[in-house]
């Protein structure tokens, strides 16, 4: 359950010098346009042979330029979802989907055509040619094609970019299940912090061909300075929690965390199941006294650890709520008005509604039946 990559490569004026160890199940590659994400993923897939490097997945050495090892792409057992769909224009959607199966030993097939087709909502398209699909339909077929090859390593290059939110929301849980229930490592390129925070166990931030940061998702997501200014509101803290109980009356789930109980909309998960939640810094309010008569349901007591100014108008307030770190993004004006200082005991207020599906990731376990 690991991918390790160390690459040095030049193409034109662009030089890529990047390496990371993805020890978790889903490693996200995050970075601006042109930073080398696709190039890196192409090398893992064996489509580009880097000038120098070493690539290992699940203990298999796929590339070692020093030892002269280069496993050809068709023996890497990789499922790749390309940024451009790259469907075979001369085959029907169905044949496209089934293409990889031909080359997978029967015993190693774990993906099932029917359930993948249903998940992706491409049932009505099966007899069509790719030329007659819409942009999003193409991308969905491309995802299905990669999955149905039952790969041992899944590479996804912005797979959801051309999909609407509803579609994304349908497919994300499936990727979660893939991540948790099959033991295939996934390398996932994305522009969206929300996606990364929800899916990734590790994040590698690329910038101009270099690794700007890499590590556990929770650590990276907290480091708002790594994010582009516009994305900082999306950053925040990750809390590892577990399902404590369900409140069937109000259709809520109560999660237990070191910071206290957190109420979120009803999750479809059994008692005890671990759930990771993301609390966006901009969704967190700080109060100096426990508020009353307010619709927000989650009030977590904590101590201010640090206050970092961020521009003139904004500060980031780092709190420790029973051991769990929590990040709030508020105005400098509020900070002054409330006299917030490190050491002060405060209440962090988070609306239940902040925990929509995009921000709660259920950790699955056990064997998968796709």
């Amino acid at each position: 359950m690991s991918v390790s990559v160390q690459i040095s490569h030049r193409q034109g004026n662009f030089s890529l010098e990047a390496g990371f160890m993805g020890t978790g199940r889903l490693t996200a590659l995050f970075g601006p346009s042109g930073s080398g994400k696709t190039s890196l993923i192409n090398m893992i897939a064996g489509l580009v042979k880097p000038d120098q490097g070493h690539i290992e997945a699940e203990g298999r050495v796929l590339l070692d330029t020093q030892a002269g090892i280069f496993v050809p792409r068709h023996r890497r057992r990789i499922g790749m979802v390309f940024q451009d769909a790259r469907l075979f224009p001369h085959m029907s959607v169905k044949s496209n989907l089934g293409y990889g199966r031909w080359f997978t030993p029967t015993t190693e097939r774990y993906a099932d055509m029917n359930s993948v087709v249903e998940l992706l909502g491409i049932g009505p398209l099966l007899d069509r040619r790719p030329g007659k699909l819409s942009g999003g339909e193409k991308q969905r077929v491309a995802i299905g094609r990669a999955l149905l090859a039952s790969p041992k390593l899944l590479l996804m290059d912005e797979p959801l970019a051309s999909l609407d939110e509803a579609r994304k929301a349908e497919i994300l849980p499936y990727i979660e299940r893939l991540r948790d229930e099959t033991k295939i490592p996934i390398v996932y390129v994305s522009h969206s912090i929300a996606e990364v925070a929800r899916l990734a166990s590790d994040v590698v931030v690329l910038a101009q061909g270099r690794v700007a940061a890499s590590g556990k998702t929770a650590d990276i997501v907290q480091r708002l300075d790594l994010l582009p200014a516009e994305e900082r509101g999306e950053g925040g803290s990750m809390l590892e929690t577990h399902v404590m109980r369900h409140d069937e009356h109000y259709a809520m789930t109560i999660l237990g965390s070191p910071a206290g109980e957190i109420r979120v909309p009803r999750l479809d998960a059994a008692i005890g199941v671990p759930v990771r939640i993301r609390i966006r810094a901009r969704d967190v309010m700080v109060a100096t006294r426990r508020p009353e008569g307010l619709s927000a349901l989650n009030t977590l007591a904590g101590t201010i650890v640090a206050i970092e100014p961020e521009g003139r108008a904004t500060v980031e307030v780092r709190m420790d709520c029973g051991g769990a770190p929590l990040l709030a993004r508020i105005t400098e004006q509020s900070r002054q008005a409330l006299n917030l200082e490190p050491g002060l005991v405060v209440f962090a207020i988070v609306k239940t509604m902040s925990f929509d599906r995009g921000n709660t990731g259920v950790r699955h376990g056990g064997e998968v039946h796709l």
């Binding site: 064996g46 489509l47 792409r73 068709h74 390309f82 790259r86 075979f88 224009p89 030329g131 094609r145």
Partner: protein
Amino acid sequence: MTWLLDLTPDEWNAVQLSIKVATVAMLFSLPPGILIALLLARGRFWGKGFINGLVHLPLVLPPVVTGYLLLLSFGRNGPAGAFFEHWFGIVFSFRWTGAALACGIMGFPLMVRAIRLSIEGVDRKLEAAAGTLGAHPVLVFATVTLPLTLPGIIAGAILSFAKAMGEFGATITFVSNIPNETQTLPSAIYTLTQVPGGDAGALRLTLISVIISMVALIASEALARRAGKRLDSE
């Protein structure tokens, strides 16, 4: 129409033989044609220019010269002729097989060019995609490259067939003009143009040859259209 089809047995034989020769020439040049086209389109090896030149040679040489070279190499006493006779039991000299060989070789540059152009037009990114899905390069070629090359293969095949229907210089020089064995339509036409009063007969055979070729052409266009429709608007 009766005057058109009112043929002597020898002429009938020539018609049938021509179709046979052209078909065999086309079918047998397809596999090597595809292979060479692939080599020329994709390969990077020493001697590629030489192979390319060799393939074009029958186009450049006067057919008589090609025929004569075939006679020298594939004739009964030629080295290639001896080789094929010994190892495969195939005799070319003065057989219809020789006519097919001559026609195949004369049409070869046309076929290779068409297929090569098509191969060069195939998006290699699709091949890369097929590779990641586990297909061995040979299978990638068979399942992705080849189908996408179909328009070129069809064009190459019809060019080869049409050329075979018209080829005469190399054929008559190589395998002569023996009725029922090597007398193809063009040879028969040639003979008729060489004697007084033969024009009407030559015209008639020419028309027959044209009709056969046009039927083949129309069929090939229909095939290509079907192959093309499948890629429509992609």
